[in-house]
Symmetry: C2
């Protein structure tokens, strides 16, 4: 999507396949810095320090990490070593292991001398697949928005979409998942306005979603995570779209902590004669067919420091971390929650939009 009027992706190789460039996401939203990644070691660093983050993007970054490694050494032994190193750089990221596995399988089948060339081509393919998938999600979601926009009871007002966390292009190579339909609608001339929940504790909404919407020129307003319910009561939310870390076979949606509260509020309020629609937008591989219900998901408990401290820009323009709870108190930090399928209007995938009870059609 656009940054300062120019089209940009989160990751791209140089034309001669010698290095990769990434947006350093740890500097956002207060600085836009492009980093040149020239070695496997630098890519492992970029992944582990979250210069690149978001499940789809991590997968692509790892694929390019293997390509960089093949510049150094095309041997079997090194291939195995590199795979291990990359997978360990963010141990819980499923896409990372998947992308690395795919690269290893393809490269092992090749003679050593062709591995370098193949690795760069395959990494580029994985990146393009991500883009195509997200574009398809965007198109299916756009059709939903368009039909709701046309059926609005009150005409000539913005179509208000609430989102949570960051499931935008910054989490992918381009377009994003939850934000892809919003970009598609905006680019097609629909007057959308996005309520961006700040998404404590890590503030990915305020830091990343707001930044990418601002860069692309999509009208938006940041709100506290507390404010979503009230806005729905006031008729100021026409639709909720979020991403998901995992969707189970029954349509339960596991996503960033706080998603469940927004889903409850959407279900409790009426807009244009229906409950406020609540959608999760995901690539179909995010659906975990092995799990029959979200109750089976073990929720990651992250470090309480993420709650007790917050990073922001001080008056001198420097990033500062400040403590926001008493020194005598401690914090708990469950990172995700599960929104039961009964509160979910549908799952938007690259294959189409599916109500939870029909999700099996997406298999």
């Amino acid at each position: 999507m656009k940054v300062a009027q120019k089209h940009c992706r989160t990751i791209w190789p140089d034309a001669r396949c010698k290095f990769v460039q990434i947006i350093d996401q740890t500097k956002l939203p207060f600085a836009f810095e492009i980093v040149r990644v020239q070695s496997l070691e630098q890519m492992v660093h970029a992944i582990s320090t979250m210069q690149v983050r978001g499940a789809p993007l991590i997968g692509v970054a790892a694929a390019y990490g293997m390509a960089l490694a093949m510049l150094e050494d095309e041997s079997d032994a090194y291939l195995a070593q590199v795979a291990e190193l990359l997978i360990a750089s963010r141990p819980t990221a499923v896409n990372l292991a998947w992308a690395v596995g795919r690269m290893v399988a393809a490269l092992q089948a090749m003679p050593h001398t062709r591995r370098n060339f193949t690795a760069w081509r395959l990494a580029a393919n994985i990146a393009e697949e991500d883009v195509a998938q997200n574009q398809a999600i965007g198109q299916h979601g756009f059709e939903l928005i368009k039909s709701m926009y046309q059926n609005q009871l009150i005409k000539d007002r913005p179509f208000n979409i609430l989102t949570h966390c960051n499931a935008g292009w910054l989490a992918t190579v381009d377009f994003g998942t939850a934000l892809a339909p919003i970009y598609a609608a905006h680019d097609a001339g629909i007057k959308v306005h996005v309520w961006v929940g700040e998404t404590r504790p890590r503030n990915q909404g305020a830091f990343l979603t707001a930044w990418e919407l601002a860069q692309h020129g999509v009208p938006h307003t940041v709100i506290t995570d507390n404010a979503g319910g009230h806005l729905m009561q006031q008729g100021l939310v026409d639709m909720v779209i979020v991403g998901a870390d995992r969707v189970t076979a029954n349509g339960d949606v596991c996503n960033k902590i706080g998603t469940y509260l927004k889903a409850l509020a959407a279900f409790d309020n009426i807009v244009s004669n229906q409950r406020i629609p609540f959608y999760a937008a995901v690539p179909s591989p995010t659906i975990d067919w092995a799990l029959t219900s979200g109750k089976d998901i073990k929720i990651e408990e992250r470090n309480g420091d993420e709650v007790s401290s917050i990073q922001g820009l001080d008056k001198g323009g420097k990033l500062q971390t400040v403590r926001v709870i008493p020194l005598e108190s401690s914090a708990a930090n469950p990172a995700f929650d599960v929104t039961p399928a009964r509160l979910v209007s549908g799952i938007i995938t690259e294959k189409g939009v599916f109500a939870p009870q029909n999700l099996h059609e997406c298999k």
Copy 2:
């Protein structure tokens, strides 16, 4: 309640009625500072800069402000001038206007020479009435907790209460409203544990509620506002108690933004074979009998700067304000929301506990 093992109130006069002492709440939770307020001017400053805050406490502070003024000048003209000045120090605070009105009425009926003496006595009475009211709220709420604690399906585990914002002793002279039952239960030996929602944007939960619970020795854990629903799904919340800025005749509860989301989640989840009970604790004058429904309440929209910036302690131990949304984005900041009576188990008042449909019995 206790601060560092010693009993403390938020405001108290010196024994010779020459000055008043307050806790400077703008310094909490990172510093505990007592400020000596020696003149009307200083009290106006303390109220307007929120060194004292919380509706009941502001009322008492204003009453002591009048007492300080009577040390200076007991004339009719000055009395009127002082009243105007105090009321303007926090224009929207209903308790402030009420306390000032009560002081003025009593003092006007006195000969000038007795006004100084009367003012100090009356201010002390208003303070004691607040304390007695909160103790009664605490006692009624304690009975609720005790009976739920005894009926818990799983014995020998802490009784988990979730609260939002600060309706503790810091908002009153002592004991608080929502926290009064918790202190009573803790002091009576019930093993309570409090989930403290940080309460963005102003973080009164993380800053004030956590601090006062820590000082009194009540086990507690700070969470993001996003986490409450998930904890309820996990069976980790036995009861929700919040304060309220206003309760309408039908039992709708207007309280800090985000309260409605917690009430929805409580209603959606089961603990010990019932929906998680959701209570608001308020002095009965907080019930606005003139309003039949919360829909009639106009919600204050506060400055977006409260969302876009946050204050905390930097690594050098200094308070810093940092920006937490992009420079290109703006924020909306509705300050309160309305929890419909259908989600409210009861209103805890100094007169007893009333289900919303029986609230008229409290009149």
